[in-house]
Symmetry: C2
């Protein structure tokens, strides 16, 4: 299997950053989850970039997607081979300018990148939670982020931004804590998973649960369900690309061979790419976290949870100014789903800008270099920042 070249990082990075962890909601102050269960204590790992200004009016909260972490930009050390996952967007003079804004990114509840999740120790059993971890929701994930902001003494967010499952968190922030959010940028996201999106997640979960090493979630002392998790990741990777991007990136090109193998090796580059992505993923991600986070995404239904089934009713709560972005070739969360949000927001008189970016890279497009996205985000944030400095209490009441 060959290594694939990552997209070049451009511009100046924020430099060396440090992951921090805050622990809160200690017993008896446990967090009460949407399922009704209590969870605590909870650790949330996070990173910050730039400086918080005096009136704490320059906070930008970045929400990550399924397999992301708090390390959105910069390097952990001089020898770190690659920067954070959105280094192309977050940094000095970048789309999210760390010379101007104070950027916070935390690892989501249920993940395995420093925040409490199924691989964390259950204080009641002193064993990893495994499937005893409660099924958390996007609402719970956002509540935990709110607790982190409380801990940091921040009560207003200039902008909350994120793509995919990160975009669901952005939407949830605007409805759960409308008085805290000045503006919001949901990218390549949806108010609720379609049957197609649920189907892909379900098959990925079935691939994990079919692996005998998964062992009903109790594998932390033994071999991990690597093969199942790799298949799950491969399924995900297909949905992140598009017919067009795969044609450009791979076509029917053969992998290191002059002809077909006539066996079950990876003949085509696309096969090799998927195998590589699957194998790489198991080194850094926990199979149970994959189950819990995809379940949270499938459960998310903004209309049902905030508007008794109506998006228009749901957004009646919102006060933020919105920039919504979709991508032409994203078939996981197609543009029509963004347009449904826009319609519901407009019916509530909200200030909403919408842009569908022409991009062949499928759902992944929001993470890739795009001058258009860069400019859109930068100018939207500048506009919100200026407006907010003029009228610091400009939130719709």
């Amino acid at each position: 299997m060959s290594e694939y070249i990552e997209h070049d990082q451009s511009g100046i990075s924020v430099g060396i950053v440090e992951k921090q962890v805050c622990t809160f909601a200690e017993p008896p102050h446990e967090m009460i989850l949407e399922c009704g269960e209590k969870l605590g204590p909870i650790s949330i790992s996070y990173e910050t970039y730039g400086k918080l200004n005096q009136d704490k009016s320059n906070v930008i909260l970045v929400c990550h997607a399924l397999s992301g972490d708090s390390h959105v930009a910069g390097y952990y050390s001089k020898d770190d081979p690659k920067p954070g996952w959105w280094d192309i967007m977050v940094g000095p003079e970048k789309g999210i300018d760390t010379d101007k804004y104070f950027v916070i990114c935390s690892n989501i509840l249920g993940s395995c990148m420093g925040s409490t999740g199924p691989c964390s120790y259950n204080p009641k059993t002193v064993e990893p939670y495994g499937l005893d971890f409660p099924v958390v929701t996007i609402g719970d994930i956002v509540s935990a982020q709110k607790a982190l902001l409380d801990h940091l003494g921040i009560n207003k967010i200039l902008a909350v931004i994120g793509g995919s499952i990160g975009g669901m968190q952005v939407l949830e922030w605007c409805l759960r804590y409308p008085d805290m959010v000045v503006s919001a940028i949901p990218l390549a996201t949806t108010m609720k998973h379609s049957a197609l999106a649920i189907a892909f997640n379900e098959v990925a979960r079935q691939a994990i649960m079919a692996d005998p090493n998964w062992n009903n979630g109790n594998y932390y002392a033994g071999p991990k369900p690597d093969l199942g998790l790799a298949v799950a990741r491969m399924i995900g990777h297909i949905t992140y690309l598009s017919d067009e991007s795969m044609r450009i990136k791979f076509g029917r090109r053969l992998q290191d061979k002059s002809d077909l193998s006539f066996n079950f090796d990876a003949d085509f580059q696309v096969e090799s790419y998927l195998r590589y992505q699957g194998a790489k993923f198991v080194d850094r991600f926990d199979a149970n976290s994959f189950l819990f986070i995809t379940k949270a995404a499938d459960y998310y239904d903004l209309e049902k949870q905030h508007g008794s089934g109506s998006a228009v009713k749901a957004f009646a709560k919102a006060k933020a100014r919105f920039l919504i972005v979709s991508f032409t070739s994203d078939w996981l969360y197609p543009t029509y789903q963004s347009k449904e949000m826009v319609t519901a927001m407009k019916k509530n008189g909200l200030d909403v800008s919408f842009c569908e970016i022409e991009a062949e890279w499928g759902h992944d497009a929001f993470l890739l270099p795009s001058e258009r996205l860069f400019t859109l985000v930068k100018s939207f944030l500048e506009s919100v920042y200026k407006e907010n400095r003029k009228q610091p209490n400009a939130l719709r009441s």
Copy 2:
């Protein structure tokens, strides 16, 4: 898991039919495959419907897709709960009228429904072949069908018809045996798999090969890789549907529950549907056959194999009259891929009709009741039949 209601079968069925098996290519007359290996003896199971006319000019060959079999229509007995897989199309007065035509359908080489495949006994070892079965191609599959037709004394096909991988066989017939094929109806198919189609097949294969029961293909004496095969089938099922059809069929409707389970049961109907389809499939299909047939489909490249990379050059060999049908919501073999065929055929002066049918059911649409498809096929066949009776040697020379 609940049973899903199959689409109603309409019209009169052909009635009771019988599966037959012919064995040929006995040593030393083994079949030489495209990979260079020899295979034999080979059994091909087949069924016929209607009567062969005196001048043997009413033969219609139906080619099945991945998991199909020779049982295209009718019932095996009075108590048989369901008819053949395309009973809506094949029968008296139907799209393929068995009162008029002599219909042949055989199980493809490499399958597990009566024809020789990886679960058959290897005469050299008196064990099932497993992975010792050679990687057969669409060309090999068609060669085996040709041997069956030789055995039946048939040297002209009025029409060869099939969808998906069956459509690849249709195309291959027209290039491999151009003098035998009067007309051809490739449905919902492609001249070569896109990277996206290969990707789905590869992930499905990985799911099978990740199952420890697969045991490198040697599982016939022990437990079968049912969990891996079920996941593979679920992946397939997603690609057979469409965003739209899944929205109509399932949406976010819950399965037998008033609310979310907050565990990893099947909450949504779409999850239950996929689990059911996966579980049902393992009872009737062989995991190794799934590997071999998907590989044959991925390897198929009409342009490369017949035209040194050019579809126009490839179709220079063809003499048949064509009816090509694609479906709007088929994202596995999208319409643009059918249009590429049409263009190449037209550049060769071939008589080709093309129709894109508006259908929300995705790739599966070719198997579902469609008045439009029914009428198209019926009138095309009537026209070809009449023309051929007038000019029995009307093949372009």
